[in-house]
Amino acid sequence: MPRAVWKGPFVDAYLLKKADKVRGSGRNDIIKTWSRRSTIIPPFVGLTFGVYNGKKFVPVSVNENMIGHKFGEFAPTRTFTGHGGDKTAKK
């Protein structure tokens, strides 16, 4: 059964405070969080979070397409080594 709509998305309160603080400071700090269960909400867009995967804080740069997903979805807890092949990346 999905979460009741009237409750709104779940976000740990401390994460909202941290996000407000970083947004106010204007610095490009990475926000450490252990809260993999928190939902990504619109005020988080543009910020970078370090989501704990049990070993490291995996940087997650939040964009609009991630809204509604949980932070944990972007920080796998099991090791995977990818291949570059001919893939390119832009900053």
Binding site: I31, T48, P59, V60, F74, G84, D86, A89, K91
Partner: protein, 164 residues
């Protein structure tokens, strides 16, 4: 990475059928590009692609000179390589991910670390780096990474390791 270096672009995972076809997974942005690249195995043996079919991984490939089950089973587990020089120049402001590996991280003109690899978990490219003896994950993003000097093989680090 030098132009003479080889780049991993795929892997033969299993034989397919009795006529020498094999299942391959490709590490390419577009699987059809494999036809543009000369292929070699790790031991230097050249392979020529005769056909590639399928809509998703694993694709079914047929290589020249491989026309029976015994020959295709011998290829199982082999990685496919292409020379770095065979890859086209990357688009403007883009970089081949494998080229970033091994680059030196520079901050305020001082070498502070090295790029060991990269990951992509769906939230942007992440560089796996060793900084001052510690392993760090750094987002490959403006504000964290500055200018990249490909000939000098350096990456400018803008992030001052500040966490909230």
């Amino acid at each position: 990475m030098t132009d003479g270096a080889l780049v991993e672009i795929g892997k033969i995972v299993a034989p397919h059928g009795l006529k020498g076809e094999v299942k391959v997974i490709l590490f390419l942005e577009d699987a059809a590009r494999i036809e543009d690249y000369p292929l070699t195995l790790q031991n230097g043996t050249a392979l020529t692609l005769e056909s590639l079919r399928g809509h998703d991984e694993p694709y079914i490939a047929q290589f020249k000179g491989v026309h029976d089950r015994n020959a295709s089973e011998a290829l199982k587990g082999q990685l496919l390589y292409t020379p770095r020089s065979a890859l086209p120049p990357p688009p403007d402001d883009a970089y081949y991910l494998h080229d970033l590996t091994g680059m030196t991280l520079v901050q305020n003109g001082t070498a502070v670390g090295i790029v060991n690899g990269f990951q992509d978990y769906g939230a942007g490219i992440i560089l796996e780096c060793t900084l001052n003896g510690r392993e760090e994950l750094i987002p490959f993003k403006d504000g964290f990474i500055g200018a990249i000097d490909a000939p000098a093989r350096t990456v400018e680090l803008l992030w001052n390791l500040s966490w909230e």
